[in-house]
């Protein structure tokens, strides 16, 4: 091994990074070459100078404290970022859109069926069903209001006002129990010539009286109002004018 090559490998040799075969060659060369041996001693002297000089800078104790607390802060904010970070952005956006949609849907009257509209649909279904079979029409058959009214007693948690309007051309045919608007209600059935009128009655949620509101559904006329703490819904295939006349009779009777 030449001096040049020895010098090249000398540092690796000093650092213990040279393979065994080359290490032996370097050692052999140094036994024969004073210059390379001296260079080797230079290197070992330098290494031991480093070892003896305590040049190592140890971290000041306060630094560890500082780092621990900054790591804790980072860990916390990382959890925060993970929960509310970009990964969740599409989900959050979707949720926001849904919520906004729901709010708008509920806030804008034209976009949703109101409670009354649901109820009107329920009324129409109930009215149609009550007329499909004669046996559906009435639970108690009587034109006598004094028979019909006591019949409801014990079947409902309220006493519906029952009046016969035979003399005005709206004879009472009887009464039924129905379940509408999430509660048991009284249904009275009246007749006007060939037409039947269902009058549904239940206690009003608000005590103040409201005047008649009319709607038309599937060819049926509906009128509803609140009076004396009761909510009334009248439904019939009768024309609007006559149904209104009937409604007026009911209201005047109380």
């Amino acid at each position: 091994m030449s001096c040049q090559i020895t010098q090249e490998f000398l540092h690796a040799y000093v650092d213990g990074e040279l393979d065994l075969a080359r290490s032996l060659e370097v050692e052999q060369h140094m036994q024969e070459c004073q210059a390379c041996a001296s260079a080797y001693h230079n290197q070992t002297a330098l290494r031991s100078a480093f070892k003896d000089s305590s040049l190592y800078h140890s971290a000041p104790p306060k630094l560890e404290k500082r780092i621990r607390s900054s790591l804790r802060r980072e860990a916390k904010s990382e959890v925060g970022r993970r929960l509310f970070g970009w990964r969740w952005l599409p989900v959050a956006a979707m949720a926001l859109i849904l919520v906004l949609g729901l709010v708008i849907w509920r806030a804008v009257p034209g976009l949703r069926p109101s409670g009354d509209e649901f109820l009107a649909q329920e009324m129409v279904s109930n009215h149609v069903r009550s007329l499909q079979l004669e046996s559906h029409r009435t639970d108690v058959i009587s034109s006598d209001q004094h028979t019909v009214k006591p019949w409801f007693d014990g079947k409902l948690d309220f006493a519906p006002p029952v009046k016969d309007f035979s003399s005005q051309g709206f004879p009472l045919l009887g009464g039924r129990l129905e379940y509408l608007n999430n509660r048991a209600v009284a249904a009275l059935i009246y007749q006007r010539q060939k037409h039947y009128i269902n009058l549904y009655i239940w206690p009003a949620e608000q005590s103040n009286a409201t005047s008649e509101v009319g709607t038309k559904r599937q060819g049926y006329n509906l009128l509803h109002w609140t009076n004396s703490g009761m909510t009334y819904w009248a439904i019939s295939d009768l024309n609007g004018v006559e149904l209104h006349e009937f409604a007026r009779l009911v209201q005047q009777a109380q």
């Binding site: 330098l46 000089s53 305590s54 800078h57 630094l63 780092i67 621990r68 860990a75």
Partner: protein
């Protein structure tokens, strides 16, 4: 890994190397307060990258981050020092010049050696600190300093020659004065 468990395993794997981290940062920045800032920043970076660490050599992994953080910090604060890229050949020292230095080294005290290392160009300083103070293998130094393995050996050789040169000039100055 979630919050507390990530923090716990990070502290177990990486916090024991705080002295090594500070030592490197201190030698690169040559200033106590700067070294502390760099190390704190490096630990935060390491914590963020901890998912990419798979339990190999925690010390080399951390020191690589400390080195990069130091360089970034110096670019922002002392760009003048970094603007002279190191040309390894430029610092070539003829081996003939080295012979009297064994004696000089024995005279050189710790203070002198410290000063000489601080005077070394950054690229020489870092490989020398990693080798002599952290006693890292060439392979580890290659990882930390982001160098090819072959370059580690040649750069260390040049760094040592350069250091001896500096020491020689200091010792001579001292003898003369």
């Amino acid at each position: 890994m979630e919050g507390q468990s990530k923090l716990a395993s990070f502290e177990t794997a990486v916090l024991p190397h705080l002295d090594a981290a500070y030592n490197l940062a201190r030698w690169l920045t040559r200033n106590d307060a700067d070294a502390e800032d760099v190390v704190q920043e490096a630990y935060l970076r390491a914590f963020r990258f901890f998912g990419g660490f798979h339990g190999e050599d925690g010390r080399a992994w951390l020191l690589g981050i400390v080195r990069n953080t130091s360089y970034t910090w110096m670019q922002q604060n002392r760009s003048a020092q970094l603007n002279t890229p190191l040309d390894d050949e430029q610092h070539e020292v003829k081996s003939d010049d080295l012979n009297p230095e064994a004696l000089l080294l024995q005279k050189a005290d710790a203070q002198m050696l410290r000063q000489a290392v601080e005077e070394l160009p950054l690229e020489f300083r870092e490989v020398l600190v990693l080798r002599e103070l952290d006693e890292m293998s060439y392979k580890q130094i290659a990882v930390v300093a982001d160098l090819p393995l072959g370059t580690v050996m040649s750069r260390l050789a040049r760094a040592r020659k350069r250091l001896q040169q500096i020491l020689a000039s200091h010792t001579q100055t001292e003898v003369l004065s």
